[in-house]
Amino acid sequence: MSEVDIRKQAAVLASTETIDGEIATLNLGPTHPATHGIFQNILQVDGERILSAEQTVGYIHRAFEKLSERRPYNQITPITDRLNYCSSPINNIGWHMTVEKLIGADIPKRVDYMRVIMMELARIADHLVCNSVIGVDTGALTGFTYMFQEREKIYDIYEEICGARLTTNVGRIGGFDRDFNEALITKLRDFLKEFPAKFDEFCSLLERNRIFMDRTIGAGPISAERAMQYSFAGPNLRATGVDYDVRVMSPYSSYEDFDFIVPVGTEGDTYDRFMVRQQEIRESLKIIEQALENMPEGNYHADIPDFYLPPKEEVYSSMEALIYHFKIVMGETPIPKGEVYFSVEGGNGELGYYLVSDGGRTPYRLHFRRPCFIYYQAYPEMITGSLLSDAILTMSSMNVIAGELDA
């Protein structure tokens, strides 16, 4: 019997109510070693085959949107860190760009290139976690241990620019608070030199591995039409064949200067999602190399004294800087009224910020368009009719990060 027929039969079984005693209810989560995050699925299983799934989310709802109505604009950056915490620079920089769009700031090219480097490093970090965790769920723990070592090198680079490892709070509205120093450039060059070889080792473990391919091909497929219906974005959508990437569709931060491809898959199953992320890591390395090669000279921040905190040396010595510092910290800056929607390509897809400002020191309304929340709805459809172990693999290949799911 083909996979399609089994699924059809499972769907029929799920809809009939005459089978008594054969259907078991299984609670997957909220605390479960294989669900990387806190969400619950109540499954109806017939043996090992899943007939239906009912989801409960919200176990880590931290009320980001209400919290951001209380905080001034530069204090919201630490909150955006905690959305997709595996790739926090992307969230931070996306928020800064949203505010810059609202105030109409002109950003120098150097800042754009620096931002691109940080965002692509974050993308590599996020995809490394996701792919090694897919390996762990099939039983291959070696890749996980090795790739987490590489993430430590990325954390070292983050520490040079902003001081923190995971929740980076990188940059300011208008750019960065310091320039890339020698140590950072050296670490970046070393990373670019050594990482591809280590990454090739990881690829050789899993990409053409017979067992891994048998486990993941055909696990949790979704067609491109259904994915578009569910507003999928990011690697999950690209694995189904739709090449939608916000960096290409609506380029921001000078992405149009870089030469990279957008990898797409065909079936939309776990193997395709894994391979799309693998190729995206390679493309990100290419982008970082190009950005480092062609980094233009210039200032590392925009000239917007109303929003950009002046350097501390000037605050302690010049009157103007002191006044600007006071006004920014107390929230007296002239934020224009307006409504803006801006999106960046996060690790999981289109991360959007819908910001409504009424001229006050805090946003009137800030809504995060969180890709994980939107595509996780499709999970029951993807696993109905498949085996329990495939359901676990599908969940880890969708890269559902609990912080982004619940916000």
Binding site: P30, R82, T145, F148, L166
Partner: protein
């Protein structure tokens, strides 16, 4: 060169070593704590980094991450606990067998962190008793290891009768945790 822990005080001789029970049991418990990672959010990723090769937690005895409460000693709560998850956390704590310790990693688990909102539990010590708090947002892996080392000290020096004492029972009752009377 393998470093092993120092032997406790006692009387030794050819083929025997005599010491008191609580020293030996304390030594064994402290150096083989099996953690249950209750990782919810960002602190969970730092915990995964602590388990990784750079900041290896396994060298302190926590080699086996057990995800089953029945088979673990140390409940590591890393990340924000919301009010929806509070009962789940309490249930996991109830299922653990004595002796058990709780390590609260991160600002959110210790006191709610930056999320002073309607949906976040302002510290897990509202629902379960906590032994060691590790502050930070997220704490560096070295800090998490220090927290585990402090738990090891607690485990080593704990009296064997502590879990049966009336003060301990009274503390559990203040959290509405039922104890089985022997």
């Amino acid at each position: 060169m393998v470093k092993i822990v120092d032997a406790p005080e006692g009387y030794g001789g050819q083929g025997f070593f005599a010491t008191s029970f609580d020293k030996v049991i304390g030594l064994a418990r402290a150096n083989s704590l099996w953690p249950l990672p209750f990782a919810t959010s960002c602190c969970g990723i730092e915990f995964m980094a602590t388990m990784g090769a750079t900041y290896d937690l396994a060298r302190f005895g926590s080699e086996r991450m057990s995800f089953s409460p029945r088979q673990s000693d140390l409940l590591i709560v890393a990340g924000t606990i919301s009010k929806k998850l509070g009962p789940v956390l309490k249930q996991v704590y109830d299922q653990m067998a004595e002796p058990k310790w709780v390590l609260s990693v991160g600002a959110c688990a210790s006191s709610g962190g930056i999320f002073d909102t309607y949906s976040v539990l302002q510290g897990i010590d509202h629902v379960i008793p906590v032994d060691v708090y590790v502050p930070g947002c997220p704490p560096r892996p070295e800090q998490i290891i220090e927290g585990v080392l402090k738990i090891q000290e607690l485990a080593k020096n704990e009296s064997l009768r502590r879990r049966d004492s009336p003060e301990y029972k009274k503390m559990l009752e203040s959290y509405n945790i039922e104890t089985v009377d022997k």
